[in-house]
């Protein structure tokens, strides 16, 4: 059984199986709990305008920046009252989907 060495392991309901893994399985995205203090892009696009600065206090619903995608300008708004911690994008920047744009923290 020299072939056996090539096998990898997969655990299903407590049982360890010898098998091979597919490329799609290996490349699957690992799930992470969402962090509400990190604002990610919801669609790939271009940053058109940024209205806030670091350390600025912002009320819930205020527009933080404009993300243009598919000819639509998406207003990215503050999800709760809080402060801007860091801005990770620049005006005119093209961002992919799920790209970190702004870090915020809630009002204490």
């Amino acid at each position: 059984m020299s072939k056996e060495k090539e096998y990898e392991e997969l655990i299903v309901q407590g049982v360890v199986y010898k098998t091979t893994l597919t490329r799609k399985f290996k490349e699957r995205v690992k799930w992470e709990a969402p962090n509400e203090n990190l604002l990610y892009s919801i669609i790939p696009g271009k940053i058109i305008d940024i209205f806030v600065k670091p350390q600025q206090k912002v009320k819930e619903g205020e527009t933080l920046l404009l993300l243009e995608a598919m000819k639509m300008q998406n207003q990215i708004r503050m999800p709760f009252d809080g402060t801007i911690v860091k801005i990770h994008v620049k005006i005119e920047e093209l961002v992919p989907n799920r790209h970190l744009m702004i870090e915020i923290k809630p009002k204490k």
Binding site: V15, Y17, T22, W31, P44, L94
Partner: protein, 514 residues
């Protein structure tokens, strides 16, 4: 003019039009490594069997300089012919004529041959090689696509529909292949996508090559849009010929039987399968040990390879195989494999092909990605497809048959006609390790040596439940058989099922979890 000169005139006209886009365009096509539309049809069909229609069709578009443009055949060839002496209808888009772009007359020719195929109840083959909609013809090209999609849907389940992607097939055009039964792709030649790399780059900033975005390999392995993958056009044509040999020409016919053959001399069935359910083997070796000769036409070989689907013959008759593959992901069911198997089961059911299911499967694949990708609704497809299928359905359980997967893999409860199990079969809610941990949790936790106790309890559970006899005692399994009897039992089961007749409740159509 004498008759003779009329005939000469006809010949001249034919020669002219048959050149398609002319010598330069044909040379360009060859440079791209592609055959011309006409060469493709002639290589695929039986010699001298092809007859072309609407050769002299011309577009009537105006504007954008279209009035002065002659597009031979309007960029598509349609006709009838035979493959292995079986009649088929075919169309092939001609990339040398205006990039095979689809205008009103082009679409009308395609829908004409589609209507013919449906009326005559013969398979339809479409060879796609087109830049897409002919922009100059505006909404008329969109109308053309719509008319094609509608006919694809009407013909679905009535006649076999085969799409061959031998060039670009982009934008709305991709939905015709997507609606058909089998899609063939060829390395470096096939390109399928909704929006191309350049649009993705400008709009979204993502840089990807055409091949990585929608090449043959991607569709064969990642998206599941393609059913057959070939290295060359000629290999692709051979695959199509093979497929045609297995399937009936319409849903009111059975596949034409071939002369029966003994199974090829491969490994002995007993030597292929290890009795330890955790050790893998290649399920294809089992399939080949059961079929006539060594021929097995695997469908979607590279997509979700944890399940195997395909056609073979037993005693000369076409059989559809659905089998878990322990060699890949331990043979689990997941979103992709459920999807793959369900569609194939429905194909077999629609075209009167009996289904043989070979089961060796530890259950559904655990994971957040699976749950969030909708393994519930995808997994439900396989239950739906088996339950709904009224063709003869035979199941052989080789080893593991755990949990929901046991129910899904054509169990008695979904109206399998015959369920056989090998003595190595384990039909249970889950594997012994998992089950013992739950059933004997207290005993294990309270023991002085939990690890030792756990081992003992796993053994105890194995002895009691990890076998086929509990299910056999309930009649869920018809017979526990020796592995070497498998082919004979399946053949007998199929023989006595020949006249199978069941009636489902009257309905317009079901609502499968698409």
């Amino acid at each position: 003019m004498s008759l003779r000169s009329n005939i000469l005139d006809l010949r001249k006209r034919k020669r002219e039009v048959q050149k398609g886009g002319g010598d330069k365009a044909i040379e360009k096509q060859a440079k791209m490594g592609k055959l011309t539309a006409r060469e493709r049809i002639l290589s695929l069909l039986d010699k001298k069997s092809f007859h072309e229609y609407d050769l002299f069709a011309e577009h009537s578009a105006t504007g954008f300089g279209m009035e002065s443009k002659t597009l031979h055949g309007d960029g598509v060839i349609i006709g009838t012919g035979t493959i292995n002496n079986k009649p088929i209808c075919i169309y092939a888009q001609d990339f040398t004529v205006a990039g095979g772009s689809l205008g009103l007359m082009h679409a009308r020719k395609i829908t004409k041959i589609m209507d013919h195929a449906l009326k005559m109840r013969v398979p339809l083959i479409g060879i796609n090689d087109s830049g897409g909609a002919r922009i100059q013809e505006g909404v008329n090209s969109l109308a053309g696509y719509g008319e094609i999609f509608f006919r694809n849907t009407l013909a679905s389940g009535v006649i076999p529909q085969i799409s061959v992607i031998l060039g670009p097939c982009a934008g709305g055009a991709v939905y015709s292949p997507a609606l058909t039964d089998f899609v063939f792709v060829v390395e470096n030649i096939s390109k399928m996508f909704i929006t191309g790399p350049s649009v993705i780059k400008t709009v979204l900033g993502e840089d990807i090559s055409m091949e990585e975005l929608g090449g043959a390999k991607v569709h064969a392995e990642i998206t599941g849009n393609a059913h057959f993958y070939a290295k060359t056009e000629m290999e692709c044509f051979q695959q199509i010929k093979d497929l045609i040999s297995y399937i009936p020409r319409s849903n009111s016919k059975k596949a034409i039987p071939y002369p029966p053959k003994a199974p090829g001399k491969g490994k002995k069935v007993e030597d292929i399968v290890p009795s330890d359910p955790r050790i893998p083997y290649d399920m294809r070796d089992i399939i080949i040990s059961l079929t006539d000769g060594t021929e097995f036409l695997e469908v979607m070989e590279y997509f979700a390879p944890n399940i195997i689907i395909g056609f073979a013959r037993m005693e000369g008759e076409t059989v559809g195989f659905v089998a878990n593959q322990p060699m890949v992901l331990a043979g689990v069911l997941d979103c992709d494999s459920s999807d793959k198997a369900a569609r194939f089961i429905r194909y077999c059911d629609a075209f009167n092909i009996p289904i043989v299911t070979l089961e060796d499967m530890p259950g559904y694949l655990p994971g957040v990605d699976q749950e969030h990708a909708g393994v519930i609704r995808h997994g439900a497809k396989i239950l739906y497809a088996y339950s709904e299928a009224t063709v003869p359905k035979v199941t052989v359980i080789l080893r593991k048959a755990y949990g929901g997967g046991y129910i899904a893999m054509n169990s008695r409860h979904l109206r399998a006609d015959f369920v056989f199990a090998w003595p190595t079969a384990e039909i249970a809610v889950m594997g012994p390790e998992g089950a013992a941990n739950i059933v004997f949790r207290k005993e294990i936790a309270e023991s002085e040596n939990p690890e030792e106790m756990r081992k003992q309890k796993v053994e105890e559970y194995k002895k009691k439940f990890a076998n086929p006899y509990v299910a056999a005692a309930q009649g869920y399994i018809d017979e526990v058989i020796e592995p070497k009897e498998t082919r004979a039992r399946i053949l007998h089961a199929l023989k006595v099922s020949e006249n199978k007749s069941v009636f489902l409740p009257n309905k317009k159509h079901g609502i499968p979890p698409f």
